[in-house]
């Protein structure tokens, strides 16, 4: 494992499988009456959020607290940052307070990379989403969810996603989730297909390790998982597509389309969902939709990442896997 987690592309197959396996151990902790591990006692983690994202921040915070870390939440809104203080100054100020890890969410692509590589700070940097670049813990929790559902909770241990056919649908162009997922799923051996109107596929996509299709209906029957990405309504004002209705007619997942998927196939969504746009309520609330599980799994994955980056020399839990046996 590297010292930072900036991009899903930086993870090797073995790194990724180790994180997924560690997350399974963490998930077992969550099933216990006392959901806390002492692993990061005395370590301080700051959640440095320059962009609003309550979901992601709460997920990291829960993970940090379950590992007994001291947590500082720093939100840029209403702070010195909005008065023009730079990323560098903010990070250095926080580090001067004795921070061991920085979990950063930033609207600018590359901000976490800059933070980790510019010599501004020494702390470990975990990317919690940067611009339209990467969101590696999201990709990891998605892979974790797929492995559980498509391979099995126990059968999946030590395994990757070889041969699984994963379809991502929606605003690929503006999606850090899509970029992270393509990188990680490829590393894990899955076959990825992106489906979107051509306006929402980036120029240069031909270098990505995946297929691109403009036709959702033709890919559904060949998908083990279909992941829907949020499509912001404002995009139609910039002529990415004509109307919300046309978008959902061509690229939204409704009950009829879901019926074309293989029986075992799952529907995924990183949230927040725009019901009626990329997904109908019927699909969102169905058994096959893993959106809520993904939220739960997010905490386990973030625990695993924090544990491996900060406390990796000590055993994760008290070997919960052997305990159970």
């Amino acid at each position: 494992m590297q010292r930072h987690l900036i991009s899903a592309a930086d993870l090797t197959r073995d790194d990724a499988v180790l994180i997924l396996d560690t997350a399974e151990e963490m998930a077992r902790v969550a099933d216990r009456p006392i959901k806390k591990l002492p692993t990061l006692r005395g370590r301080t983690v700051v959640n440095l959020f320059f962009e609003d994202s309550t979901r992601t921040r709460i997920s990291f915070e829960a993970a940090e607290k379950r590992l007994s870390a001291d947590v500082i939440n720093f939100t840029a809104k209403g702070s010195s940052v909005s008065k023009g203080e730079s990323l560098k100054d903010t990070a250095q100020t926080l580090e001067a307070m004795g921070v061991d890890a920085v979990v950063i969410r930033h609207g600018a692509s590359g901000a976490p990379y800059r933070l980790a590589t510019s010599g501004w700070i020494d702390a470990a940097v975990i990317n919690a989403g940067d611009g339209t670049h990467q969101h590696p813990t999201q990709a990891l929790l998605d892979a974790f969810t797929m492995r559980r559902r498509l391979v099995g909770r126990d059968a999946g241990l030590g395994q990757d996603l070889a041969g699984k056919r994963i379809t991502l649908v929606g605003d690929i162009l503006h999606s850090r989730v899509a970029r992270s997922n393509v990188d990680l799923l490829h590393t894990l051996g899955a076959e990825v297909t992106l489906v979107a109107p051509p306006t929402l596929v980036p120029v240069g996509v031909e270098s990505w390790p995946c297929e691109v299709s403009y036709d959702l209906d033709r890919t559904l029957s060949k998908s083990d998982a279909v992941m829907l990405l949020r499509v912001q309504r404002e995009r139609m004002n910039a002529a990415f597509f004509p109307t919300e209705r046309e978008y959902s007619r061509r690229y939204g997942l409704d009950g009829d389309r879901m019926a074309k998927m293989p029986e075992h196939a799952i529907v995924m969504h990183p949230g927040p969902m725009v019901r009626g746009m990329e997904i109908t309520a019927e699909v969102a609330d169905s058994e096959r939709c893993t959106a809520i599980e993904q939220v739960t799994n997010g905490v386990s994955i973030r625990m695993a990442v924090l544990y491996l980056l900060l406390g990796g020399n000590e055993p994760a839990a008290t070997h919960p896997r052997t305990e159970e046996k």
């Binding site: 990323l87 600018a108 590359g110 611009g131 970029r179 980036p202 120029v203 996509v205």
Partner: protein, 428 residues
């Protein structure tokens, strides 16, 4: 009258000769010239070029003296071998009146390191709406002949057409920063494989090419000449080549950084590589070199764009666009054009002195190295190899993409009308 004998200089890279300067003029060029009464500079096989001329410099004064002033910028120019620079109009206030251009012109004359020829804005406040008083700027003491809204594109086709027509009355030229604004909203880097991966807003080649195509057609229609700033794509080269073959009066420049660097460098997210137009691909770089060699691109211009440290010591999206270039331009041209065999030193003199002086009408600059010509000269130690160290820059800013990179060649002497502005690599 002071005399200087430059002994054993390879004039334009040719056989070693002696060059005698008398006062502000080259008195004699030949072999075994008498050193009597003259200070002797042993050139020792260095290459002697006419003083370089930069058609595209940002001196930042007035308004952004924290990044550069006319004094520091012209000292940087002298260090890089330049004897004349054209100062872009995007200052604060904008150089869109006779008053501002005269101020910049006089500062250059006072400091004496390098002639400063102000460029006037095409439109008031660079806003692209209303023509600035182009005639008044031309008639001012600054004698402006080059007009540009550089930093912004004159995107309104009617305003561009009128500007092209209007400056014909006094032999002016409009220098276009070709960037279709709607196609580049939120643009952060070249649009392509790298931008797709990095999730940075794309600046597509077509945003440059479509404006160049429009403007060469406009220039043809109204019978004007047009100059294209910092041409950066292989497609732009094709359009300019086509326009020239049709007899359209178009000239074009390329920056040193577009001759050497590619968008692969952006993977570092280091804003020192953030520039407008953006670094392009290897294919573009090779097309630009070839076009500079075959004359499709007429000149090298630096687009020297100083920025204070804090404007680059931040995340990519928040960083300013631009690179300093005056002090490294000749070295980059040596690396990309001379060492590759694409240009000889006479060709370098043509692209970096003669042609830019001709396009901008810089009197006394870009002249042959021969008796009777003004003594604007640059002596280059082409055998030198060294790493670029921005700490040694004369510029007030350090935003160079070449820090730590080994580049060939070093300017040791610069003479402006017979007066040394740079001696043994040190400013005089």
């Amino acid at each position: 009258m002071s005399k200087i004998l430059i002994r054993g200089a390879k004039v334009l890279g040719g056989e070693p000769q002696d060059v005698l300067i008398d006062g502000d003029t080259i008195a004699e060029v030949g072999s075994g010239l008498s050193a009597e009464g003259a200070e002797v500079v042993e050139a020792d096989g260095k290459v002697l070029l006419p003083g370089l001329v930069d058609l595209h410099t940002h001196l930042r004064e007035p308004g952004r003296e924290d990044s550069e002033t006319v004094l520091t910028g012209t000292r940087a120019a002298a260090s890089g071998g330049y004897t004349a620079v054209f100062a872009m109009a995007n200052t604060f206030p904008v150089a869109d009146t006779a008053g501002v251009v005269e101020q910049v012109y006089r500062l250059g004359q006072e400091h004496g390191y390098c002639d400063v020829q102000p460029i006037g804005a095409v439109t008031v406040g660079l806003e692209g709406k209303k023509l600035a008083e182009l005639g008044a700027m031309h008639e001012s003491a600054a004698g402006v002949t080059v007009f540009s809204d550089d930093g912004k594109c004159v995107d309104d086709a009617v305003i561009m057409r009128r500007a092209l027509e209007y400056v014909k009355a006094f032999g002016g030229v409009v220098a276009q920063h070709a960037q279709e604004p709607r196609l580049t909203e939120g643009a952060q880097m070249n649009e392509g494989v790298v931008s797709a991966e990095l999730g940075l807003g794309g600046w597509p080649a077509v945003a440059e090419e479509s404006i160049i195509a429009r403007d060469v057609l406009l220039a043809e229609h109204v019978g004007s000449r047009v100059h294209i700033c910092h041409l950066s794509t292989a497609g732009s080269v094709e359009i300019v080549r086509w326009a020239k073959s049709r007899g359209i009066d178009v000239t074009a420049e390329v920056t040193p950084h577009h001759l050497l660097l590619t968008d692969e460098l952006v993977r570092s997210y280091n804003p020192v590589y953030k520039v407008n137009p953006p670094l392009r691909t290897e294919r573009d770089v090779l097309a630009l070199r070839e076009a500079l060699a075959d004359g499709t691109i007429d000149i090298v211009a630096t687009d020297h764009a100083p920025h204070p440290h804090e404007d680059k010591d931040c995340e990519w999206a928040a960083a300013a666009m631009g690179m300093v270039g005056l002090e490294t331009a000749l070295s980059v041209v040596q690396r990309t054009m001379v060492e590759t065999g694409l240009l000889d030193w006479a060709g370098v003199a043509d692209r970096m002195s003669l042609k830019p002086a001709a396009i901008g009408g810089a009197k006394g600059h870009g002249r042959p190295v021969s008796a009777g010509e003004p003594a604007n000269l640059t002596l280059v130690d082409t055998a030198y190899r060294g790493e670029v160290d921005p700490a040694g820059f004369a510029s007030r800013s350090r935003n160079t993409p070449y820090e730590g990179r080994e580049l060939p060649g070093r300017v040791t002497h610069t003479w402006l009308r017979g007066r040394a502005t740079l001696v043994d690599g040190k400013l005089a």
